[in-house]
């Protein structure tokens, strides 16, 4: 039965491809929801599987067997399998907790400093302007929501493009996109295979905001131009930074611009299939970990002498 618990650890391997295809085929907001929920469930199931491995390993030790009031030895796979699995699981869980804790602290610190700084300025609408030669813009969630934009970014766009930029950032805040990003971060730390899924969720968030911006300003081409010009402006000031390692594949920005320049696609049957596949994969993972946990629970009860074999 231990083999069943390997499934939640293996199924996330299929997630990156399925998530990417889902985003390519589905409307951005729908894709964002499907991918994020699946990533969270897959992450939770792999954690649960690791937890069960640790628990079975511990119950093999006489101390914990006594604590667990086991009267019979716990029926499991041979010790040669169970104990190493438990050790590896403990290491994986500790690693997860460590990196996630560190990442969370870093996020909170960055968020707080941005929030304090924005709060210190006089408010003009929801805009917070930072006097900086580096073009940058981001949505700052909280009460009230803010858009932080640097002067360099404002100067590298014309008035209509700036409206597209503001609409984009407002869509982030209105859509609660930071929750999706936080969920993506959490999932990425739970299972290495979910790291590419985090990138997909980030892209889905941007695509959703792009589409909302295009709808708000009523011009897809204008929105595409604003994104392209903002990115290129950022690049010009960054050229002095040699530490930047170029990516191999085409990045998220050209993808977003191309998607906006293309006509909005009608939903296709293939889209539904890909999403269904991702959901099926997630459901299988959930079922496997639930069954595995119930099985272990049952065997613990047998070992406690509460139930006959």
């Amino acid at each position: 039965m231990t083999a069943l618990l390997l499934l939640p650890l293996l199924l996330p391997l299929a997630a990156p491809v399925l998530a990417r295809r889902t985003l390519d085929r589905l409307a951005p907001v729908a894709a964002l929801w499907v991918i994020t929920v699946c990533a969270l469930v897959l992450a939770g199931c792999s954690l649960a599987a690791l937890g069960v491995f640790v628990l079975t390993g511990l119950l093999k030790l006489p101390v914990f067997a006594t604590l667990g009031e086991l009267v019979h030895p716990l029926p499991t796979a041979p010790d040669l399998v169970v104990l190493p699995a438990a050790v590896v699981s403990v290491a994986a869980l500790a690693g997860f907790a460590g990196t996630f804790g560190r990442a969370t602290l870093r996020e909170i610190r960055a968020f707080r400093s941005a929030r304090t700084e924005a709060g210190r300025r006089p408010a003009a609408g929801d805009l917070c302007v930072v006097d900086s030669p580096h073009p940058d813009a981001y949505a700052l969630p909280g009460r009230p929501h803010r858009i932080v934009v640097t002067t360099a970014m404002l100067r590298s766009l014309d008035a209509a493009e700036r409206e597209a930029l503001f609409a984009h950032e407002r869509a982030h805040n209105r859509g609660g996109h930071h929750y999706f990003l936080a969920a993506a971060e959490l999932a990425a730390h739970c299972h290495p295979a979910l790291r590419p899924v985090r990138a997909t969720i980030r892209l889905a968030v941007e695509r959703a905001a792009d589409e909302a911006a295009a709808a708000a300003v009523g011009d897809r081409r204008l929105t595409a131009r604003a994104i392209a010009r903002a990115a290129l402006a950022g690049q010009a000031t960054r050229s002095a930074r040699p530490e930047f390692a170029p990516a191999v594949a085409s990045g998220p920005v050209p993808h977003r611009v191309k998607a906006l320049l293309a006509a909005p696609r009608a939903a296709r049957r293939a889209a539904a299939w890909i999403a269904a596949l991702l959901l099926a994969c997630t459901t299988a993972s959930f079922a496997a970990s639930a069954t595995g946990m119930l099985d272990v629970h049952h065997r613990v009860e047998i070992a406690q002498g509460e139930e006959s074999r």
């Binding site: 870093r106 996020e107 960055a110 400093s113 941005a114 700084e117 300025r121 006089p122 408010a123 003009a124 609408g125 929801d126 805009l127 302007v129 930072v130 006097d131 580096h134 940058d136 813009a137 981001y138 949505a139 969630p141 858009i147 934009v149 640097t150 002067t151 404002l154 100067r155 014309d158 008035a159 209509a160 700036r162 409206e163 930029l165 503001f166 407002r170 996109h177 930071h178 990003l181 936080a182 971060e185 980030r202 300003v217 081409r221 131009r225 392209a228 903002a230 990115a231 290129l232 950022g234 690049q235 930047f244 170029p246 990516a247 191999v248 085409s250 990045g251 998220p252 920005v253 611009v257």
Partner: protein, 123 residues
């Protein structure tokens, strides 16, 4: 953009747009110039009202120009801390924060693709 659409927008969003114009400009701007660079069909009186409100809030300063005023953004006293905050966020090399940024870093390939897309879009 239609006139009706602009007038219907929340006041806060209009204030943001006007602030953006003032920050993007090099010199103080009159309400007429702001109206012109907004590129929308906002009435001049609306722009003037927004500028007056911003001035009351202490976000913009103004000086006499002809028969009216020219407005410019207040260079904040916290400019230094702002720069520090900004570089702090910037230093995060992976920039993997929950703060959704408008644009990510580009690879040289991305840059070329984007320039091509921009050119084909402008033709």
């Amino acid at each position: 953009m239609t006139d009706a659409k602009d007038e219907r927008r929340p006041a806060g969003e209009l204030e943001s747009s006007v602030m953006a114009v003032l920050w993007a400009g090099d010199a103080p701007l009159t309400p007429g110039q702001v109206q012109l660079s907004l590129g929308s069909d906002l009435a001049r009186t609306t722009v003037t009202t927004i500028l007056t409100r911003l001035h009351d809030k202490g976000v913009v300063e103004r000086r006499r120009q002809g028969r009216g005023y020219a407005y410019y953004p207040v260079q904040d006293a916290h400019g230094l801390t702002a720069r520090r905050m900004h570089s702090e966020l910037d230093r995060d090399t992976d920039r993997e924060t929950v703060l959704a940024r408008f644009v990510a870093q580009l690879s040289p390939d991305d840059e070329r693709v984007l320039r091509d897309l921009l050119e084909s879009g402008e033709r």
